[in-house]
Symmetry: C2
Subunit: 174 residues, 2 copies
C-alpha cells in the first residue's frame, strides 16, 4: 500500500493513539488502513465413499489436485462461500454436513475453513478454474500431487472420520 484509498495522498506508517501496531494512515485525511487476514472457504465433497478433487487450471499450483476452495466474498456466509466455490470449480451442488477444520496460513495471512459436504448429485463437471476433475476412492487419492499442505491436512482429517458417525469437533490446524 503506497496511497490512501480514501484521499489518494501517500500513506504514512504510524501507530494510531490507543493502537498496538503501526498502520498505514492517509497523509491528507488521517484514515487508518488496517490490513487483515483473508478467509478461504472450501469443501471436502464425498459421494458413496469417493471424494471430489479438481485438477487446478490456474496458478498457484496449476496441474495439482485440490478440493474446491477459494476466497470468501463480501455478502456471503462461510457456508455459502464453500457452496459457491464448489459450484464454480466443479459445477456441483453440495449439502454441508459439518466443519472439518480450521487451517491457519499465518505467513500469507489466510484463515482456511473446510467443511465436510455431500454431493447432492454425482453430476460434476470442470469449471473455468479446473482442467478436469474426478471422484477418487480413498486408496486412489493422489497424495503426492496435491496442491497445498492444507489440502493434504484436510483430506487426512476426512479419512480419519471415514467411519465416524455423529457430531465431531473440527481439527484446529497450525
Amino acid at each position: 500500500m503506497r496511497f490512501c484509498s480514501a484521499c489518494g495522498a501517500p500513506v504514512e506508517l504510524k501507530r494510531p493513539a490507543g493502537d498496538t501496531l503501526e498502520r498505514h494512515v492517509g497523509s491528507a485525511c488521517d484514515k487508518i488502513h488496517s490490513r487483515s487476514p483473508k478467509v478461504v472457504v472450501g469443501a471436502v465433497c464425498g459421494s458413496q465413499d469417493q471424494e471430489l478433487l479438481c485438477h487446478r487450471a490456474i496458478e498457484p499450483r496449476a496441474g495439482f489436485w485440490a478440493v474446491p476452495a477459494g476466497y470468501l466474498e463480501l455478502g456471503e456466509s462461510t457456508e455459502e462461500g464453500a457452496r459457491r466455490e464448489t459450484r464454480e470449480e466443479a459445477c456441483a451442488q453440495i449439502e454441508i454436513m459439518s466443519l472439518l477444520g480450521i487451517y491457519n496460513v499465518v505467513r500469507i495471512g489466510q484463515v482456511q475453513l473446510f467443511y465436510r459436504a455431500r454431493l447432492v448429485s454425482p453430476k460434476v463437471a470442470a469449471g473455468l478454474e479446473t482442467l478436469e476433475l474426478d471422484l477418487f476412492e480413498w486408496a486412489a487419492i493422489p497424495w503426492d500431487e496435491l496442491a497445498f499442505p492444507s489440502v493434504r491436512w484436510v483430506l487426512q482429517r476426512a479419512l480419519e472420520l471415514r467411519d465416524h458417525t455423529g457430531p465431531h469437533p473440527p481439527a484446529l490446524g497450525p
Copy 2:
C-alpha cells in the same frame, strides 16, 4: 474506496476477465482490489463455573457487556488472536479448549470465531478498551445488557455445553 492504493489514481469499477464480480481496479495500473470479509476472534473464558465479561469502554456499544473479541491481525493464527484480545481487554491468560462457534455477520462482512477457553489464573483486570470486568455466575449473566447478538448466541452455546464433557462440534451460526 476512491483511489488505488498502488498507483494513487482513481479506481474504476469493472469486472476483470474470468471473474464473476465487479471489482475496484486502479485506472493507471490496472491493479485489482478485492474487498474481503474480516475475521473477528473471541473467547468465552470460564473459571470455576463463572464466565468473564467485559464492560465495553469503546464504541460500538460502549457500556454494554461482551466477551473478549476483536479483529484478527496479520501475523497471528486465530487462536493466537483470541489469546491476544483476551490479554488486551482483560489482562488475562487463557488456555483454549475448543471452537464454540462460527458466527457470520454478512451485512458488515465479518466472520466471527469464538473459542471456549479456561482462565489460567483468576487474576483479571480491565484493559484499555474495558471500563470494568467481572466473572459472572450463569444465573447472573446480564442477558439484556450484552453488546452484540453474537455475544448472546455464543454465551447460550457455552451454557448448553455447561455439563458436557469431551469433544463437541462448533455451532454454525447464521
